[in-house]
Symmetry: C2
Subunit: 501 residues, 2 copies
Amino acid sequence: MNKEKEKVLNEFKDHVRKMSLLGGTIALLDWDSRVYMPEKGVANRGESLGYLAGEFHKLNVSPKVKEFVDAFSKENDLDNVTSAMLRGTKKQYEISLKIPAAWEEEYSILCTNSSSAWRKAKSTGDFEVFRPHLEKIVDMKFQYLKLLGCNEKGYDVLLDDFESGITVEKLDELFGELRDGIVDLLNKIKNSKTQINDSILNVTVPKETQIKLCNFILEKMGFDFEAGRMDETEHPFTTSFSNKDVRITNHYYENDFTNALFSAIHEGGHAIYEQDIPDSLENTGVNSAASLGVHESQSRFYENIIGRSYEFWEYFYPEIQKEIPEFKNVSLEEFYKTINKVQPSLIRTSSDELTYSLHIIIRYEIEKALIEGKIQVKDLPIVWNTKYKEYLGIEPKNNSEGVLQDTHWADGTIGYFPSYALGNLYGAQFLNTMLKDIPNVYEELSKGNLDSIHKWLRENVHEYGAIYTPSELIKKVTGEELTAKYFLQYLNKKYSNIYNL
Amino acid sequence: MNKEKEKVLNEFKDHVRKMSLLGGTIALLDWDSRVYMPEKGVANRGESLGYLAGEFHKLNVSPKVKEFVDAFSKENDLDNVTSAMLRGTKKQYEISLKIPAAWEEEYSILCTNSSSAWRKAKSTGDFEVFRPHLEKIVDMKFQYLKLLGCNEKGYDVLLDDFESGITVEKLDELFGELRDGIVDLLNKIKNSKTQINDSILNVTVPKETQIKLCNFILEKMGFDFEAGRMDETEHPFTTSFSNKDVRITNHYYENDFTNALFSAIHEGGHAIYEQDIPDSLENTGVNSAASLGVHESQSRFYENIIGRSYEFWEYFYPEIQKEIPEFKNVSLEEFYKTINKVQPSLIRTSSDELTYSLHIIIRYEIEKALIEGKIQVKDLPIVWNTKYKEYLGIEPKNNSEGVLQDTHWADGTIGYFPSYALGNLYGAQFLNTMLKDIPNVYEELSKGNLDSIHKWLRENVHEYGAIYTPSELIKKVTGEELTAKYFLQYLNKKYSNIYNL
C-alpha cells in the first residue's frame, strides 16, 4: 500500500472509530430507555435518539467514506479486516446516500414512541393502541424501499439488513424443508405413547433465587461479569457498547422459573460472542457478529443444544435441587424430559425447541405478506390467530399472548425474525463439525466444563467478528453451505430418544 | 424583531436544542458510568465521552453561535429568555474559542480515568493511586487558565464556572463572617450543659427499609417518580437529561440509616428544582438552575431547614417508628435532638448542619491554595488532616475518611465546593422571605403537607430556570444581596433552642 492510500485508510479508520463510539452511545440510550428510563422521559429520549441517528447518518455519508470506497474498491490484495471494512462500508454507504437523514431521524423518533405504545398495548392487550404506530412503521419501510429504488423483492432487501445475502427464495427452500421435517416429527411425537408430565415445573421460585441460578450458569458459560451485566426488562435482549461492556436483560416469572434460566443462557450465548470479539477489531466496524443469524446461532446453540442437553443438567441439576426444595425428589431424567416436552404453545420465547421454528415461520410469512402488500396491519390479529390455529393447533385468547407478544416490530425491525430459525440451522451445522474436532464435548459438559465448547466457538466463530460474510463463515467452518439437514438430524435423534420413537 | 433577526434566532434555538440533546446524552453516559457500567467498560466509555465532548465543543464554537452573539449583543429590548440565552452563550462561546477541542477531549478522558482510579484509591485509602490523576487534573486546569489568558485571580475564573459573579474577595467576606459566627455558636454549644445522646441511632436498618422510607419522603416532597428515579452509588448525586428525566442516587449504610434519609432529601431538593423547570424552557439552555449555589440552596433547604426541623418529623417520625422497631419507645423530642446533635466529624456528607460549612471552608481554602500555587497535590493529605485538626479538632485515621472522601476533584471539578456553603446562605435568605409570604409554613409541615413550600419555591425560584443570574435572583426574591446574616440568625435560633443557650 502506498503512502497516500495508507493515509486514506488511517483517516477512514479514525472515522469508523467515531462511528463506532456514536453507535455505542445510541445503543446505551436505547438500553437505558428499555431498562431504567422513567416513563415520562420517553419524548425527550426520542428526540435525543433522533438527533444522534441524524449525526450517525452524517458520518455514514461523509466524504471520508466516499474517499475510502473510491480508493480501495479496485484493490485486490487487501487484508481480511480492511476488506471486511470495505464491504460493510460500501453497502451502508450506498444505502445512506439514498436514505435522507430526515428519514432516519423521523424513523428513530417513531420507533421510540412506538416501543412505548407497544408496552402499553401489551399490558392491556389492546392492539388499537399499537396499530397506528405499526402502520407508520410499515409505511416508512415502504418509503425506505422506494427511496432505495426497489420496485420488487422488497422483503429481500429488508432481510439483507439482518442476514447478508439471504433471499425469500432461499428461505422458502430452507424453511420449507424445516417445516416438513418438524411437522413430520411432531406427528410422530403426537402418536407416541410417551407422555411427559411437566407439572413439576409448576412451583413458585422467588426472583432472587432465579437470579442466583442464572448468575451461576452464566459464570460457568464464561460470561465475564466485569465486562457485562444482567438487568430486568419485559423482553430479554443483549446489547453491547464494546467487547468490554456487553449487557443482557432477563425477565422473571415467579411461576415459570425455567423461562428466565433459558433466557439467561440464550442471551449469554449472544453476550459471549460479543465479549470474544478481539480487541484488535474494536471500533473498526468489523467488531460485530457475522450476521444476526450467526448471532442467533450462538444464543440458540447455548440455549438448546447445550442448555437443553442431558449432559448439561448432569452438572447443573443439583444446583436446582439445592435452591428449589420441590425438586429434591425429582430425578434428573424426569427434569430433563420436562424441559424438553414438546407442546405447541402461544409464546415464542417460551416455546419448546421443536415447535419454536414454526413460531418463526409464522412471523416470516406475515412479514413477507405485509411487505408484498398482501395483508394490512389492521389484519394482523386475525392473520396471526389463524396461523397459530393452523400450524400449532392453538389460538391466543388475547393480543397480549398473540400478535403483541414480541418487541421487534414495535422497535421498527422487520426482517429480523428469520434470523432465529437460521440460527438453529447454523448452530446444528456447527455442532456437527465441533463433534468431529472434540469428540468428548458431551463428557466435558456433564462435568460442568463448558470451556472447550467456548474455546471452539471463540476460535471458529467469535474471533472473526464480521470479517467473513455468513455464507463464507459457514463454508469455512463446516465445509458446506447452510442446510436444514443437520438441524433436522439433531432434532430427530434427540426427540426419538426422549419419546421412544 | 425583524425577519432577518427572527431567522437567526430560530436557527440558533435549533442549534441550542441540539446542544441540549447532546449535553443530556453526555450526562446519561456519565450517570451510567457511575451507576451501572461494568468495571472493564471504563476505557471505552472514556473514549466515547471524549469524542462526545469534542462534538459538543464543535457546537459551542459553531458559526451559528457567533452569528447569534453578533446579531443580538447590541439589542436592548430582548425578552427574558433570549436575554439569558445570549448571556450564557456569550460566556461559553468566549471560553470555547480559547479552549481547543483537543483540551476538552483530553480532559474528559482524564476525568473518566481519574474517577475510576479514585474509586480504587478510596476503597483502599491509598492516596498514591489517585495522586497522579489529580496532578494531571490540576495541571490541565493551569493550562486552561493560561489558554484563557488569565494571569492572576485564576481561582475567581474557576469559581465563576459554578457561581456566576462570585469572587475570592466576596467569598472571603461571606465565609469569614460565617466562620466567625459558627465558631462562636460552636463554643457556646461546647459549654452548654445539654448533652445529646445519639446512641439510639446505632441500629441496623436493612437497605430495603431505608429505600422504602426514602421513597415515602420523596413522594411527599413532590418528587415525580414517573419523571425520575433513585439508584445506588458510592456518593449520592443528581443528574437530569430533561425536566422529565431527573435521576438521583443514594448510598445505604446499614448501621447509619439517617445518612441515606438526609441524602435522599438533599438530592430530592435538587431533583424537584430540575423537574419544576417549565416545558417552555426545555432545550433552550436556560433550562437549568440559576447557579450551582442556588441549586445547593434547594437541596440544603430541604435537607436541613425542612428535613431537620421539628415540624417535619412531627409528621414523618411515626413512619420511622413503624419501620424500625427500636424507635417505638423513643420520643419525637429525643429523635429530633439526635438528628441535630452538633458533633465535629470527618465526613462532610454526614456532618451536622452547624459544622458542615467548616468542611466546605477547608475545601475552599485548599482549592484556593492549590490554584494560587501555594501548595501541591502531594501535600494534600497532610494539609487536609492539619486543617481538620485545626478547625474541627479531629483528624482522619486514613485517607478514605480524609482527602479521598469526595468525588468532586476526581471528576475534575475545582471551584464547586463553595456552592454548598453558598447554598446554606441562599436557603436561609429564601426562608426569611417565605415566612413573610406564608406564615403558617411550619404548621403545614407538621401535617406532612409540603405542597405550599414546594409551590413557593417553584414560583419564586424553580420556574425561572437560568433566566436570572444568582445575584439578580436573590435580589428579586428577597430584595437584598446575598448575606450570611439570615443563615447565622437561623442557626442561632435553632441551636439556642436545642442546647438551651
